[in-house]
Point group: C2
Chain length 546, copies 2
C-alpha cells in the first residue's frame, strides 16, 4: 500500500481556488444566484449518477457551476478520497483515535475481492459471514416454529433492546420494509424497539405483549451500555414476576455483542451472535445488530437483499469521482458547508416508510463528522459535519418548509422519492392517484426551491436558489434500501476524508457518561467545597428531583 | 389602544449596543467563553422563572452575561413586546399579511378579562367556548357509548385525518398524555393520525381497524387541503366497499373546519365542529382541532386541564420581561441568532412521552418565523427564525450529541425534564431507578456542555461554553403539557415582535401548491416551448414516474 497524504482541507490547492472563486454565504433572505441560471433539463439529465440497487442520484438542482464541480473533483483527487477508501477496505487503521480498522463494508461483502482482511491470522470477512450464517439459521428456525419460547409457544414478537446504533438504524430499516413485506406476502414476528432509559418507554413498548410469545434481543457491543443493561434487567424482572408457570427468561433472550464483552460468556441467553470493534455502532445495521432482527421479521433472504444493495453501493463508491454518487454528494456537501457556509442539511423522503430514516442519518452524520480535530488529533480551523434534520414529505411541506422557501438562512436539501408506493394500494381522485400527487409535490418542490418566483409583493416573493438533490428509484425494496443506506454511509466516510478527520470514533459522548456517574454516586454527599462542577451537578440534579 | 411602534430589530438602540459589546459567532470548534466563567449554583438559582402549570424555566446555562441580559430586557421594552401581546389579545389585526386577528389564546380563555373580542358584533371567546361545549358533549356521549357507529357498535378507535397543524400538535399532545392516562386509570378510544398523501401511510394507519368501531375526524380549516381530502375520499371508499351490511360512512365521520368551508354545509358528517381564520393551523391544538381528539381519547376534563395549563402560561406572558419565561426565552434566542450568529436550536425532552413534541415545535417555530420580510412586507437584513430539530434523551446522547459537544458549530439547546415518570413503574438497578438514571444524564449533559473539560489530548478535549436552558417540572401532566405548549407558542410570538415580522401567515408554502397543480395538469401535455420552469417540472416528474 502506497503512503497516503493526510492534509487538512485548507491545505488543499483546489479548496483554496474554490474559496477565492466563490463568495461565502449569501445575505439573509437571498438565495444562491447561480442555481436558476444554470438549471435546465439538459443539465439535469447530465447530472445524474447510478447509486446502486436501482437508485439514482440527481444533483442538478444543487446549484454548483461546472467550474466549481471541476475543482471539487480535483479536491477529491488531492485528498485521495478513493485511495483512502481502498485503504480502509484493506484493513488499514482508519479509526486512528481508537487504533481500529473500519470494516462495516465487509459485513455485506468483500469489496476488494482479492484482499481478505486478517486480524491475528483470522479472516474477518469469514467471521462476519459465519455469524450471518448462524443468525440466519436461528431466524429461520424461529420463523418456522422450531425454536419456541420456554413454554412451547412460537415467537410472535421480537423486542430489540439497544440504544443509538443498536436502535436507530435497525428501527429505520424495519419500518422501511414493513409495507414492502406486506405487499410481497412475507409474514413474521412483529418487531419493537426499546431504547430509552426513561421507564415510560419500557412501559409503552412492553404494553400488551404476551411474554410467552416474545423474544428479546439484547444488543450492546461493549456489554456495558447503561440504558440497555437497565432495560434488560427490567425485562428479566417482568418475565420472572409474571407468574407464568414454566417460563424461563433465558429461553426468551438472545444477545448481539462482541466476543470480549461480559455478555458473551453469560448463560442467560438462548444464543449469542457476535460482531467486533471494527464495526462502529452507527455503521452496524448490516451486521448482526440489524441483521438478526430483520431476518426474524422478514426472513434471512430479505436481509440478504439489503446487503446486496449495500454492497452494490460500496462497489460504486470505488468509481472515479465523476461517476461516484456518494463521493459527488460528499463534495457538494463540502461546497455547501465550507464555501457557502451552510452548516445545516435536511433529509426529506417522500415515502412514509422512511419515517425514521432521517433520525438514523442524523446519528450517522453528526456522530461521525461532528468533530473539531483532525485524524492526528490536532485542532482544525474549518467547519466540519452538518446538523441534520428531516421528516417525510408531504408532511414537512405543511410544517417547516416555510423556512426552506422564505427563511433568511439557506438549508441544502436531500430529497428521496420513488415512482411506485410499496403496497400499490391506491385510488384515483380528481384524476390522480395518491402516489401521483405525492410525486407531483416532490417535483414541484425541487423546482420551486431552485427557481423561486418573483412577486411585487415581497411577502409572496420566492428568492429561489435553494439547493437540493434527489435520490430516486422505482420502488423502495430491500435492495434499494441497502443502496440508500450505503450511499449515506459512504458520503459521510468521504466527507471525513475530505476534512481529514476520523469519522469512526465518538469521544464527545464520554464526558456526559462520566458526569452521570458522578451525579448518581454523589446523591447522598455534599459537593466538595470549592468544586463548582460538583456543585452545579448537584444543583441541576436537585431541580430534577434527585 | 395607544399607537404602537413597528421598528425593525436593527433600528433598536439596545440591539445596536448588544452588537457592539458582544462578538459574533465563535470560531469553529470554540465554545462561548463566558458560560463557564459565569455559571455557578448561585447564578443558576437566580435565573429561574415560573412558566406555569408547575413548570419552571432555568436559563443559567444559556451563557448570557448580566450586562447582555439587561440590554435584552431593554430591547423587549423598545420593541414593545408586552404591549404588542396585549394588542394581539385585544383583537388587533396582528396577522397583517392576511388581514386577520390572532386569537389562539382565546381558545383557552380570556387573558385580558375585561376585553371580549368581537367580530361583526359576535363575541369570539363565546364562540370558541360554545364549540368546546359542543365537542365536549359529543366526546362524552361517544365515551359513554351513547353515540355509536352506524351498525350499533361503540367506537374503539378514532382516526384524525389532517396534515400540518391538524396533525403535528394534536399527535404530539396525544402521545404525551397516553402514559399519564394509563397511570390515572383513564381509558377511552385509541387515537391514530393519518396525514401523508403517500398511500403507504393510509395503508399503515388503517391496518387492522374494524370500520364498525372506528370514528374518523376530518380536519381542514379551509376544507380544500389536497392530502386531507384525498385521504378522506380513500377512507370513505374503503368503508363503502368493505361489504359490511348496514355500515353508513356518514355515521363514522365528523368534521373540524371553518364555518365558511365547503365541508361545513356537507351532509356527509355525523357532526361538525368549528374554528375560524383567527386561529392558525400550527396554533390550533387548543381549539377543536386538538380538543376533539384529545377529549375523545382522554375525556373533556383532561383537555380542560391542558387548556388551564396553557391559559396559565398565557397569563404569565403578560409579566414584565424579568419575570416572563416565554419572553426571556425569546430574547435569549435573539441573542443566539442575531448576536452570536447561531441559527439552529435543538429541543431535547428527557421524556419519551414527548417523542413528537420536537416535530410540533419544528413546525410552530419554522413556519411562524422562517420569514424574510417584516410585517409591512419589506425585506429585512438580519436573520430570523432558527432551524429546529430534536429527539428525546437519553436516545439523542447515543446519536447526535457528539456534534453538540465537539462539533465545529455551536447549537443552543432547550432541555425538558421531569422529576417523576408518568407511570411511576420503575425498578432500581445498581442503586438507581431508571428515572434517576434518566435525570442524572440530563443534569450531567447541562454541566458537561457548559463547562466542558480540558484534556491534553485534543480529541478528548471539550471546549464547553455550549449554551442550554432547562424547562422542568414534577411530572408531565395535562396541565404541565398545556403550559409547555403555551411557553413555546408565546416564545415564538415574542420573537416575531422582536424581529418585527408577522408570525401568523405562511406565504412560503403557496408556490409549491401552485406548481404541484401544474405538474398534475401537465402530465399529458408537452411543456410550452421556451418555458424552462415547465420543462423542469416535466423533467423531475418524469424521474418520478409521472
Amino acid at each position: 500500500m502506497q503512503e497516503l497524504n493526510y492534509n487538512n482541507l485548507d491545505q488543499c490547492e483546489a479548496f483554496d481556488r474554490l474559496r477565492r472563486l466563490f463568495p461565502a454565504s449569501p445575505k439573509p433572505g437571498a438565495g444562491l444566484g447561480e442555481t436558476a441560471a444554470e438549471l435546465n433539463p439538459r443539465r439535469a439529465l447530465e447530472r445524474d449518477l447510478n447509486a446502486g440497487g436501482g437508485l439514482r442520484f440527481n444533483f442538478a438542482a444543487r446549484g454548483v457551476s461546472a467550474e466549481a464541480l471541476d475543482l471539487l473533483f480535483r479536491l477529491a483527487e488531492e485528498q485521495q478520497a478513493e485511495k483512502k477508501y481502498r485503504s480502509l477496505l484493506s484493513g488499514e487503521i482508519m479509526n486512528t483515535g481508537e487504533n481500529r480498522m473500519v470494516l462495516h463494508h465487509l459485513s455485506r461483502g468483500q469489496v476488494l475481492a482479492d484482499k481478505p482482511v486478517l486480524a491475528g491470522g483470522r479472516d474477518l470477512g469469514a467471521f462476519y459471514r459465519g455469524e450471518r450464517e448462524r443468525f440466519s439459521l436461528f431466524a429461520r428456525r424461529v420463523r418456522e416454529g422450531e425454536i419456541r419460547g420456554s413454554t412451547g409457544k412460537p415467537f410472535k414478537t421480537v423486542v430489540q433492546i439497544g440504544i443509538g446504533g443498536s436502535d436507530l438504524g435497525p428501527r429505520a430499516l424495519y419500518l422501511a420494509l414493513r409495507g414492502w413485506a406486506e405487499a410481497e406476502g412475507i409474514t413474521g414476528p412483529e418487531a419493537r424497539f426499546l431504547s430509552n432509559v426513561d421507564p415510560d418507554d419500557a412501559a409503552e413498548v412492553l404494553a400488551g405483549l404476551n411474554p410467552e410469545e416474545c423474544l428479546f434481543i439484547l444488543v450492546s457491543k461493549s456489554g456495558t451500555t447503561q440504558e440497555t443493561l437497565t432495560n434488560h434487567a427490567l425485562v428479566v424482572q417482568r418475565l420472572q414476576e409474571g407468574g407464568i408457570p414454566g417460563l424461563d427468561p433465558r429461553g426468551h433472550m438472545v444477545a448481539v455483542t462482541s466476543q470480549t464483552s461480559p455478555l458473551a460468556a453469560s448463560s442467560d441467553f438462548l444464543d449469542s451472535f457476535f460482531m467486533d470493534d471494527y464495526i462502529g455502532g452507527r455503521y452496524s445495521s448490516t451486521s448482526a445488530v440489524g441483521g438478526l432482527v430483520l431476518s426474524l421479521a422478514f426472513g434471512p433472504e430479505t436481509f440478504e437483499e439489503v446487503l446486496a444493495g449495500a454492497h452494490e453501493g460500496d462497489l460504486l463508491a470505488l468509481e472515479p469521482a465523476e461517476q461516484n454518487a456518494a463521493l459527488t454528494d460528499a463534495l457538494l456537501g463540502v461546497f455547501d458547508i465550507n464555501i457557502r457556509g451552510l452548516g445545516t442539511s435536511a433529509i426529506l423522503p417522500y415515502s412514509q416508510a422512511l419515517i425514521r430514516f432521517p433520525a438514523h442519518l442524523q446519528q450517522l452524520d453528526m456522530e461521525s463528522n461532528g468533530k473539531q480535530v483532525n485524524r492526528r488529533g490536532e485542532p482544525i480551523g474549518y467547519s466540519t459535519g452538518p446538523v441534520i434534520l428531516g421528516e417525510p414529505g408531504t408532511n414537512g411541506q405543511h410544517s417547516f418548509y416555510q423556512l426552506l422557501h422564505q427563511g433568511t438562512g439557506v438549508v441544502p436539501l436531500q430529497f428521496i422519492g420513488f415512482s411506485r408506493s410499496q403496497r400499490g394500494r391506491d385510488r384515483s381522485l380528481d384524476g390522480a392517484t395518491s402516489q401521483e400527487k405525492l410525486n407531483a409535490n416532490l417535483a414541484a418542490q425541487i423546482v420551486a426551491l431552485a427557481l423561486g418566483q418573483k412577486s411585487d409583493n415581497p411577502n409572496k416573493n420566492f428568492p429561489g436558489g435553494r439547493p437540493s438533490s434527489l435520490l430516486y428509484g422505482d420502488r423502495l425494496t430491500p435492495r434499494t434500501l441497502g443502496s440508500l443506506l450505503a450511499h449515506f454511509e459512504n458520503k459521510v466516510m468521504f466527507q471525513g476524508f475530505l476534512w481529514n478527520l476520523n469519522s469512526f470514533d465518538q469521544e464527545g459522548v464520554q464526558l456526559g457518561k462520566v458526569l452521570t456517574g458522578k451525579v448518581l454516586a454523589g446523591r447522598s454527599q455534599s459537593p466538595s467545597p470549592g468544586d463548582n462542577r460538583e456543585a452545579l451537578l448537584k444543583f441541576y440534579a436537585g431541580l430534577l428531583g434527585l
